[in-house]
Symmetry: none
Subunit: 296 residues, 2 copies
């Protein structure tokens, strides 16, 4: 029983005509007719009830075709999966992340990734909106929350935290707060996200305190928020990976290095999401492994 033959059967069922299948395949109609007849002889039952004007699957034929359809599919997948074992990890991998995370965390990794996986080319889709992985043909998504639903695989890439930072000159002008409570006297820079607006949370030695904050400036973009903080417009609550470089360079100062800081919950992390396929393309696999190795 040839798989090509079985695919012919399915095409016959789909098109409802031997002649149409023959035209589509560029063969003689007699070819299709004989193929079906031969399969029927081998199977021992009739697959299609046919007249000169119509071809209709029999009950047994419909049952058989319905059952073999996924099998033929999987047979092809088995071939592809096995081929990937020997194939070099090559091709284009589409990766999506937020603009800030992409530019600050992923872009610095690109040189190393290029040398480690020269055959893989990365296509970065940076967007602060949640891109549909299937519709966008996305292989890998980097998000700051795990997959809420569906057939996505979530792996924690790295733990993330927040820092309250301000610029040197802002501190020189307004004084450096020594305790979180002092922030209530400052006009802080805030995100428009509801979680970040009313209060910030601090934790040290297991003791948590919430500090109400306020300020005239609200921003929807963390890069802009960071820029504002660097410009000395006030203290800001920002992700640690976003301000690591600025802290190291001295452009920003971590106001409470001894405390954990959070907007809503303390348990935050960056997640790597990818669609749960039966067999992940090798090029995607190696990129995932590289990212986990570099960030995990």
């Amino acid at each position: 029983m040839d798989t090509d033959t079985l695919k012919t059967l399915q095409e016959v069922a789909a098109r409802g005509s031997f002649a149409a299948v023959a035209r589509a395949r560029g063969v003689d109609p007699s070819n299709v007719s004989r193929t079906v007849a031969q399969v029927e002889a081998q199977l021992g039952f009739r697959l299609f009830q046919r007249s000169t004007r119509a071809v209709q699957p029999t009950e047994a034929g419909a049952l058989y075709l319905a059952r073999i359809a996924p099998l033929l599919e999987e047979l092809d997948q088995a071939r592809d999966a096995a081929a990937q074992v020997v194939a070099q990890p090559a091709g284009r991998v589409r990766l999506t992340a937020s603009v800030a995370f992409g530019t600050e965390v992923i872009v610095p990794l690109l040189p190393g990734l290029r040398t480690a996986l020269p055959e893989v080319s990365l296509e970065m889709v940076l967007s602060d909106e949640n891109v549909d992985l299937l519709a966008g043909q996305i292989d890998i998504a980097l998000r700051l929350a795990p997959a809420p639903k569906g057939d996505l695989i979530s792996v924690k890439l790295m733990d993330t935290g927040y820092r309250v930072v301000a610029s040197q000159d802002y501190l020189a002008r307004h004084g450096r707060p020594t305790a979180p409570q002092d922030l209530s006297a400052h006009e802080v820079l805030r995100m428009t996200l509801p979680d970040h607006r009313a209060q910030w949370q601090f934790r040290r030695d297991g003791v948590t305190e919430a500090v109400p904050v306020s300020g005239p400036l609200l921003m929807s973009n963390v890069l802009a928020l960071r820029a504002a903080a660097c410009a000395g417009l006030g203290p800001a609550l920002l992700a640690d990976w976003l301000v690591a470089e600025d802290l190291a360079a001295g452009r920003l100062v971590d106001l409470f290095p001894g405390r954990e800081v959070a907007a809503s919950g303390f348990e935050t992390a960056a997640w790597l999401l990818y669609p749960s396929r039966a067999y992940l393309p090798r090029k995607v696999r190696v990129v995932i492994d590289y990212l986990r190795g570099a960030l995990g």
Copy 2:
């Protein structure tokens, strides 16, 4: 890709030797060698790493073989499952007949058929129009004429005849005709079929006579015609199977019990039609046999 080929691959993996597989299958070792080589060429990767003394699946080959093994199994199961559908005298059989024949002849057989073939469920499509057997997924058709054309198998189910009948009270009011010719003086009930309209034929001892008939009432439905006859509206030419019960119950009287009666030809019969003798599902076969036994 032939499933038999794929099974050969599995046997190679199991036995670890081309020659052993060749012996087991009774073919030449070169056959196995070439089969494997051809599959590898089609797949694009090597399945077995082989030396003169050992055959070992490659990593890709092992993965491929492991994945196709259950698929081949299911492929066979699909065949068996479908074959069982046709082999078992069980399931739904779609049967079409005219409304009158179905209700008067087939329905009385149903109780016996239910007990004789409890696993078979009958779906009756009663229609006075010629149903398309293919489009309607009909297994068996009961018609009062043989298949005029096509690849349908026709078997005569039972001979049928016609009777000229009238109700007791009609005869009391209009007198009982003693010879067919007397019908010309009656207003008879007629079918709208062209054959039945102008004259009725009678035969006794090989002598045929045609009697012209007329009447104001024409009906297109034999059940309505019978009802009209029962209601004393006049004599009617009706199929014997249609009036047998009424004659037995005395609701109708056979006016010419000694004669054969016909509308057009005397050779009339009920036919059983079914598509294609080859690969006839067993459930259809047993219903056909039952009907022939009960009516033939």
